[in-house]
Amino acid sequence: MAKTILAVDDSGSLRQMVAFSLKAAGYEVVSAVDGQDGLNKAKEKTVDLVLTDQNMPIMDGLTLIKNLRELGSYKTVPILMLTTESSDEMKAKGKAAGANGWLVKPFDPKRLIEVVQKVIG
């Protein structure tokens, strides 16, 4: 059975490219347009991996991670940030919030899939 990845990004083109790359590698993808939408969809179905942007309206990526980590079903689910933010300060905040990795945009599909496979197989 294919593993499911929740991809959260406010950019339609980014969501499209992330979903395309992950589906081509055999994963199922649930897309969300911001952190709040991501949180709602994560509650509907526990996914195998969360891939989230940081800067989004309504709820940003760090807040989403903190909220997910408070849910029993997401204590150990891997969460990766995919963002234009690349400062050590932001990475430290991400790590403290419970992120398992940091990917700086733009992503290369091949490298993204390698990381996802490493994290969830």
Partner: protein, 182 residues
Amino acid sequence: MASKRVPVAELRRLLSAVSDHGKQHLVEVEADLMQTTFLLGEAIEKLGASFMAIHEAVMTQQQEIDTILSSAGLPAGTNQKITEYREKIGEEVNAAITGLQFQDMTSQLIERTIKRVNGLRESLTALATHGEGMDAEHEHEEIARLLVEMSANLNTRSDAMKFGLKKSVSQRDMDSGEIELF
């Protein structure tokens, strides 16, 4: 008795004119940036749709080629060539996916610029309204107070703007970004 034209009144008039002129330009800048964002969004939507359609067509074509390859006796080396073409197509698809993400970063930069433009417009508005109710009998003190107030106001607005802005996008090439697992 003719009214005395004091420097402070003249200064206020000039500041107001600068403010109006500047705001007029900023309105135009904001409109152009909004239109740029719209055009970029439209362009990337069409490019994305074409990309998906091309990819689907290529996949269908590859399935047809597989069928032909399995049923026909093709010259030696054809399989190898087709595999090489497939790999080349795969590399180009990956490069296109990376390239298509630059609209997102450009939009973030434009959004940041629009916020700065709005912040500057607010500062110019403040510039025009400063110094109302000045005492013409103490013009030197009033001008000094006006300039100090203006400077403080601009600093406050500038700081507020900085805190409200997302970090700037610093990507300078078309390569993919770094990856770090914690």
